[in-house]
């Protein structure tokens, strides 16, 4: 369960201010976050993943208060327990699909690549329909294939929390549905929590809950 209490973050003087008195998200819940641009949706994902720290308040994932961890502890926790999907995929063009999926294992010493992990790459790739493209450089993939690769990378550590920042934002309508299907399948299989920032209102009814960020401008609890 994710529990956010009395969270406050601001940039500059009055340019940006995010205030969340309370936000609770249950385990295995699929939550969509909507709201106008600049309202702080992406900032919330970064706060939950510990990429940025709030000025006040507490972010708990299960028993762990992520904003109270030291920087190395926080990074270690993030890479092992949180899968982050970026809007523009953020794949490395010099690595092939397989290496991109395995990337989290190659940039931390706490995760080791073994046969089990390699099998997991294959099964994830099969689930996402990119099993035949594992040896391809990402430059040679379609947008949909790139996002599937990014989802595989987020899922490879079998995280219990998946943060998707407009994961379908760059995709055409037919791909959007397919990618969301794949993401939901994978989330269900892992019994993970999904928090997805989205602008696609037609996809909202597929989520368990929708949080409109507009309310946090008024400091409401959810």
């Amino acid at each position: 369960m994710i529990n956010i209490n009395s969270l406050e973050l601001s940039y500059g003087t009055d340019e940006f201010r995010l205030s969340i008195p309370q936000l609770k998200i249950e385990s295995t819940e699929k939550v969509a976050i909507i709201g106008p641009s600049g309202s702080g949706k992406t900032t919330l994902l970064k706060l939950i993943s510990g990429i940025i720290q709030p000025q006040r308040g507490r972010v708990e994932i299960g028993e762990v208060a992520i904003n109270e961890l030291s920087d190395p502890q926080c990074r270690d926790y993030r890479i092992s327990n949180i899968g982050y999907i970026f809007q523009d995929f953020e794949l490395l063009d010099y690595l092939n699909v397989q290496d991109n999926i395995l990337h989290p294992f190659r940039i931390t010493q706490s995760l080791k690549i073994d046969n089990q992990v390699r099998d997991r790459v294959k099964s994830l790739a099969e689930e996402m329909g990119i099993a035949d493209k594992l040896k391809r450089l990402t430059n040679n993939l379609s947008q949909g294939e790139k996002q599937r690769t990014a989802i595989c990378r987020a899922m490879i550590t079998a995280p219990k929390l998946i943060l998707a920042d407009e994961a379908t934002g760059n995709l055409d309508p037919s791909n959007k549905t397919k990618i969301l299907d794949a993401l939901f399948r994978s989330t269900d299989k892992n019994k993970a929590t999904l928090i997805a920032v989205t602008h696609d209102h037609e996809l909202l009814d597929r989520f368990d809950r929708v949080i409109d960020f507009k309310q946090f401008c008024d400091g409401e609890s959810v």
Binding site: I51, L92, D93, Y94, L95, D99, T108
Partner: protein, 393 residues
């Protein structure tokens, strides 16, 4: 750590053109000062080792460097000739043993050195195969000449004409190879040694032809008297000297004025060397005596002055290159900010990012080092040849 190198390697392979350019630049900048040092050390070694063992050189007045380079290294610069009388002068002084040298001609690209057997004793050269020349037209060849021209004892080598368009010139002389010198690691390995008289035959001062008294066709005889027979040009000239025609070879003119390029004077002792040098200073208007060591030291002094200048230029280029490489890396990392930020967002530590960048730099440095080192090895292998081409021939 291995993963850092793996990712760095993938990045380098993906950006191979950029990497190759960078590796070539770094290798070149690292290679230049070392290469210069190797070549200069080798040139110093080659020039000095021979100069030290040659105490005095007598030659025509003029450029002493040309005289030394031609006499010690058989370079293409020809000093003016001196005559055989110069030998008598050294001999008559009883202060030194003269060893004549005549290095005007070539066989293919190899110099033909006309000298006496004293030369080999003086240089402490040994015959590896066959024997020394004993007869007119015989040659003793250096080890490299034998290897490169695939010549064996019993084979032959042809002198090259000085000028291809000289229709009135002397016919090339076919010289029999009677011996091959042991490898000496000096220019003597690339020389064809013959008796002094053989070089005069090559020049046309001596020649052999069919016996004019036994000409069958009288129409070839233009005039005949008791002392002189004049023939047409149909008479057969010998281009090879063998036992059968050796007797027909003869020289025209006064042998005491036959040319030499230099005389190696081996003094009895240092005092004799000084006295002999003094005599040339005071008496000789057309000849000079030089100490090769001194001449080469002066030359090396000039070369090392140039080296200091080149070193300074290389240093400036190296600094500029280091700055350029630094700029390339910093621009590259600026371009990769998004990638680095993604890695950090995924949970990578800053130290791992540093490790990744370090691994890339290390791989490029190792490749540059390997390329530089292997180039230096190649240079070292050919340094003798290169120095010979650059500084000696």
């Amino acid at each position: 750590m291995i993963d850092s190198f793996y990712l760095a390697w993938r990045y380098i392979v993906f950006n191979r053109i950029k990497t190759i350019t960078l590796v070539l630049c770094i290798s070149l900048v690292s290679f230049l000062p070392f290469a210069l040092k190797i070549l200069l050390n080798e040139s110093e070694h080659q020039l000095m080792s021979r100069a030290i063992t040659t105490p005095l050189l007598v030659g025509a007045k003029g450029n002493s460097l040309d005289l030394v380079m031609n006499s010690l290294y058989f370079s293409k610069e020809k000093p003016d000739f001196i005559s055989m009388k110069a030998i008598e002068k050294v001999m008559d002084s009883y202060l030194a043993v003269p060893i004549p040298l005549y290095t005007r001609f070539h066989a293919r690209e190899y110099p033909i050195v006309g000298t006496t057997l004293d030369y080999f004793e003086f240089r402490k050269h040994k015959v590896a195969e066959g024997r020394s020349f004993a007869m007119l037209g015989e040659s003793l060849i250096g080890a490299d000449v034998a290897a490169r021209l695939n010549l064996k004892v019993g084979g032959s080598i042809l002198s090259s004409p000085e000028n291809l368009f000289d229709l009135a010139g002397v016919y090339p002389l076919k010289m029999k190879v009677v011996g091959i010198l042991q490898k000496t690691n000096s220019v003597d390995d690339k020389a064809v040694f013959v008796d002094l008289k053989t070089t005069w035959v090559i020049q046309g001062l001596g020649h052999g032809h069919q016996d004019v008294k036994k000409i069958a066709d009288e129409s070839d005889v233009l005039s005949r008297s008791d002392k002189l027979v004049t023939t047409s040009t149909k008479i057969k000239q010998y281009t090879e000297i063998n036992v059968d025609n050796l007797g027909s070879f003869h020289f025209h003119g006064d042998p005491s004025i036959y040319p030499l390029t230099a005389i190696i004077a081996v003094p009895n002792d240092e005092k004799s060397a000084t006295i002999l040098s003094g005599r040339y200073l005071s008496e000789q208007k057309n000849q000079q005596i030089v100490r090769p060591k001194k001449v080469i030291e002066d030359l090396l002094g000039n070369i090392f002055q140039i080296k200091e200048f080149i070193d300074a230029v290389v240093l400036i280029v190296a600094i500029a290159m280091v700055l350029a490489i630094f700029l390339v890396f910093s621009l590259s990392f600026r371009l990769r900010q998004k990638e680095i930020s993604t890695i950090l967002h995924l949970g990578c530590s800053r130290s791992t990012v540093v490790q990744l960048i370090g691994a890339e730099i290390l791989i490029i440095a190792v490749f540059s080092g390997m390329l530089c080192f292997s180039s230096l090895l190649v240079l070292q292998y050919f340094q003798g040849e290169i120095v010979h081409q650059l500084f000696i021939s």
